[in-house]
Symmetry: C2
DNA sequence: CTTATCTGTAATGTTTACCATTACAGTATG
DNA sequence: CATACTGTAATGGTAAACATTACAGATAAG
């Protein structure tokens, strides 16, 4: 799995703590320790799904206009990483009963795992994440 | 996630269908479509955890001596891939409340996800996998 | 209306993880 | 002792992830 999922969580949490003003990709990237372009890429995904708003130009940036409890980690996972659990497998041997069918069996299992994981991730909204971050302070 | 997990499942399933004789890494690798050395590496892990036995020399190979229902996918996951869910994150900014604490929050969440996933994976033993493979035939 | 400050995104390097491959030592069998 | 295996270290190739550069487009401020 790449880190788009965790970067998205990081960004939304950052924005959640700045509810009244725009934050720039520079500010977020400095908090997360990655390049601002990467933040803009991830946030452009979140924007496409209406989780944040952005504004170009001087004084612009990103803002999270929703209730913190309206977005949960499964929402974010689906956008950034759905299907990422299953490793890429090479073509296996169709002449072998295992090679011919394992691919399909594994696909359905990974699909089930992801769905099951979703139930867990739904329990965490950005509100919970913010609380956890504050609690550690 | 790399494919050690799926290769281990593939190999055990292959061995489960050859309960009475040794299978070579060559035979398994041909079924899985990967290099025999890779199979030997994965199987050496499984051997270390007593899930299979191996024998060197002429007529040697690998064998799965347990009941098919004695090994489940969570057992295999723990050996091959525990901790693989969480992506590697760069050092984030300690001066920012989010940067300073997000790492820890994410760690505990990924830990929870993996544990939750474990409950699901435990439902699948090699016996189930073999049945699923046969059913597709 | 021009300059500075942002986002948006394509293009290009760089690094790293993954995997294949080679090589060879060790072990069992006939 | 020749052959057929495992076990594992070392090396090389490739693709994914990520950083970086570059620049067009938008907006605000002077």
């Amino acid at each position: 799995m790449n880190s788009d999922f965790t970067l998205a969580i990081h960004s939304l949490t950052f924005l959640a703590l700045q509810p009244d003003r725009m934050s720039t990709s520079d500010a977020i990237s400095e908090s997360a320790g990655v390049h601002p372009v990467r933040i803009r890429k991830v946030l452009s995904l979140l924007k496409k799904h209406k989780f944040i708003k952005s504004k170009e130009g001087t004084g612009g940036g990103f803002i999270f206009p929703l209730e913190l409890s309206e977005v949960n980690l499964w929402d974010i996972y689906k956008i950034t990483s759905e299907g990422a659990l299953k490793p890429k497998c090479p073509e296996s041997n169709e002449k072998c009963i295992v090679g011919a069918n394992m691919q399909g069996v594994l696909c359905s299992i990974f699909f089930g795992v992801e769905k099951h994981m979703g139930e867990y991730l739904k329990e965490y909204t950005i509100k919970e994440i913010v609380n956890l971050v504050n609690k550690r302070q």
